[in-house]
């Protein structure tokens, strides 16, 4: 049933959702624990001031030739949001064994011609992989699994910025009111991190099994053309996980109006660096993508017809079709989004912070 929560420091009403574990009062900045049983220290990375962040964006946009769009006079809306994360260090090894069908190409000279065929070797491999270690950032909220949020986490892991206990830092009132409540507890965060990390390790181990079998056949001087894992056993062992305390990472969202259009940008809250930037598609860019569609389909279509072998020809024409579809879609996109963070879509990231927690 509905229950009204009030700040235990100033008595102001709290905007609590059914999953809220902890929430910062938007009036006084006091951290309230709705789930007392999960009470722990929360760390925060202090954001730079809004003006400073927007100035950084303007400078960055100017360097990219977008100074006209992202200027102060075009600013329609700016807001800071502090997103809670857990950073989970995971380390695991894997006992593996597998049987791989390795295909090799063999040729034999018969009178004036050469006869070639594909032979298969069944190779058994086994070993221990790892330790495979990494840091998995887990957003402590439901349904926030988007590129900009992942990019923010990666930027934090790559940087040396310090997170301090929330009680020991002075935050502006607009930052308090924008701190998103923590909705995932540490245990759930570790389960999510385990799933991400071990899925990634299983994929890597399967590649190791295949590669090891192929290499063994290559060492016999044979010409390997492909392989299939027939049977495998991958047992994760010595799995260790340590989770950080919840860490609040700030992010600026700025919306600009340029001409009739709106363009959004997301900035890293502690240094003002652009994470995601939407920019107008210039007429010239549309023409370029359209031309690329014509050239790619023309070249691949022509080569496809001229190719030796029907399947190679069909393959080239198919690639040309995909290229023309992709380029034309690009040509007609309303805006262009650029992401300025490496490894955004990687689930588990090698980080400088790793080993700080596990050691």
């Amino acid at each position: 049933m509905a229950e009204e929560y009030r700040c235990s420091n100033c008595g102001a009403p709290l905007d609590v959702s059914p999953e809220t574990i902890a929430i910062v009062c938007s009036y006084c900045g006091f951290l309230n624990w709705v789930r007392e049983d999960l009470k722990e220290e929360v760390l925060v990375v202090k954001p730079i001031e809004e003006g400073q962040a927007l100035k950084r964006l303007a400078d960055f946009a100017t360097k990219k030739g977008l100074g006209e769009v992202f200027r102060q006079s075009n600013l329609s809306k700016a807001a800071v949001v502090a997103i809670p994360f857990y950073f989970v260090d995971v380390s695991a090894e894997a006992n593996y064994s597998g049987r791989v069908a390795v295909r090799v190409r063999k040729c034999r000279r018969e009178k004036d011609s050469e006869r070639c065929w594909i032979d298969t070797h069944n190779i058994y491999v086994r070993g221990v992989y790892g330790p495979y270690s990494g840091t998995v950032p887990v957003v402590a909220r439901r349904g926030s699994d988007v590129v900009s949020v992942k990019a923010l986490a990666n930027r934090y892991m790559a940087s040396r910025v310090e997170a301090v206990p929330i009680g020991k830092v002075e935050l502006d009132r607009n930052v308090w009111s924008s701190i998103l409540s923590i909705e995932i507890d540490r245990k759930t965060a570790m389960d999510i991190a385990l799933d991400t990390h071990l899925d990634s390790m299983r994929e890597m181990v399967e590649n190791v099994i295949r590669r090891e079998a192929e290499n063994r056949v290559r060492m016999r001087g044979e010409n390997v053309v492909g392989s299939t894992v027939i049977w495998k056993r991958i047992t994760p062992i010595n799995v260790k996980m340590v989770s950080s305390k919840p860490i609040l990472l700030p992010m600026y969202i700025a919306v600009y109006r340029y001409g009739n259009d709106m363009y959004r940008s997301i900035l890293c809250g502690w240094d003002g660096e652009a994470i995601v930037l939407e920019r107008p598609m210039k007429r010239l860019e549309r023409v370029a993508w359209g031309s690329l569609a014509a050239i790619a389909s023309g070249v691949l279509g022509g080569l496809g017809v001229a190719a030796i072998g029907i399947w190679i020809g069909i393959g080239l024409i198919a690639i040309g079709s995909i290229a023309s579809w992709y380029c034309m879609r690009k040509a007609l996109m309303p805006v262009k989004s650029s992401i300025f963070s490496s490894g955004v879509l990687v689930g588990s990231v090698k980080s400088k912070r790793y080993s700080r927690l596990l050691s």
Binding site: I237, V239, M241, S244, V276, G298, A306, S324
Partner: protein, 321 residues
């Protein structure tokens, strides 16, 4: 009371009310407690996502988003007028999937911030939000990520306007269906890790039913009606019809045809050089360019353009969902 309705006494506030027998759930109009119709003793957690955008804001979002579309009519901003906005509250079921398989003889040590497992089988952890009714008036894209932010306990007084749709699917059946691929994956991982010697631990749970608001906004442009759907909680435009100018249509169609002709010419030149025959390369280039032509035709053949939200393409922003 007619025979199609059933009378309830709210177990929380003792108020009496009646609801249609066909409903799966009944919500007390006085205190908001939700029950299962077939088992009124069982209370259900019922949430409502807050409406952050009213109909005027939703219409403004539609106009701003339409202005960003390629080929939008030049006088769009001045020649459009609001026609109607209707709010639908779509029922959703919320589940948390958490399944683990530990190999036989394996040990798991779980601390506050540390976990150690010596031999592990498989694992899946996911948060699932799925529609709780079929044939809904608003088509939600597959994979649409519903935000957890702004979820509140349901109170009938919160719903001031709009159409409140009842959940019609059985939550346990839906849970079994949505959970099945996760359990199968865990079993497959466990079998790969330790054969059939594993213990499956299913800590998944049904969190509750929620209602999510969408606006169906209609506007007029030069005598024609255009429809759009806006997520009333976070402002995402899911569907948008917009007028395309005649000039843009001509440019778009000519561009599509020109792309195909150029591709055919390049293909022809290549086969002309390689094989001495022009015509086959011409055909090869034209065939490869057909998808590009198809996109241009689909986009510009009609004066009404249509945008549809694609979760995979749009998952860059929305950091606070």
């Amino acid at each position: 009371m007619d025979g199609d309705r059933i009378r309830f006494t709210c177990s929380f506030c003792r108020a009496e009310f009646d609801a249609p027998k066909t409903f799966r759930y009944a919500t007390c109009p006085y205190c908001g407690t939700t029950f299962r119709i077939d088992n009124p003793g069982v209370r259900i957690d019922h949430y409502l996502f807050m409406v952050s955008y009213d109909k005027n804001s939703a219409y403004r979002l539609v106009k701003e988003f339409a202005l960003m579309q390629v080929g939008i009519a030049e006088d769009f901003e001045t020649a459009t007028e609001f026609e109607s906005a209707y709010q639908y509250l779509i029922p959703l079921y919320i589940y948390e999937v958490n399944v683990k398989a530990i190999c036989g003889g394996g040990k798991e040590e779980v601390g506050d911030s540390k976990v150690e497992i010596d031999i592990h089988g498989g694992e899946e952890a996911a948060y699932i939000v799925t529609p709780a009714a079929q044939d809904m008036p608003i088509k939600i894209p597959v994979g649409y990520s519903f935000p957890a932010r702004g979820r509140r306990f349901f109170k009938p007084t919160i719903v001031r306007e709009g159409m409140y749709l009842q959940p019609s699917l059985d939550p346990e059946t839906v849970f079994r269906i949505v959970k099945e691929p996760y359990i199968n994956k865990v079993i497959s991982e466990a079998v790969t890790a330790c054969g059939n010697n594993y213990n499956l631990v299913d800590s998944s749970k049904y969190i509750g039913v929620a209602h999510y608001p969408f606006w169906l906004v209609k506007y007029r442009y030069r005598g024609n009606t255009y429809t759009s759907i806006v997520d009333a909680s976070d402002g995402t435009v899911l569907h948008l019809e917009y007028p395309i100018s005649s000039k843009s249509r001509v440019v778009g169609l000519v561009g599509g045809v020109a792309t195909t002709i150029i591709a055919a010419a390049i293909g022809g030149i290549i086969t002309g050089i390689v094989t001495g025959t022009f015509i086959y390369g011409l055909l090869g280039g034209a065939v490869a360019a057909l998808p590009a032509l198809g996109i241009a035709v689909q986009r510009f053949i009609r004066s009404k353009g249509v945008y549809r939200y694609k979760p995979s393409e749009e998952a860059v922003f929305v950091p606070v969902r």
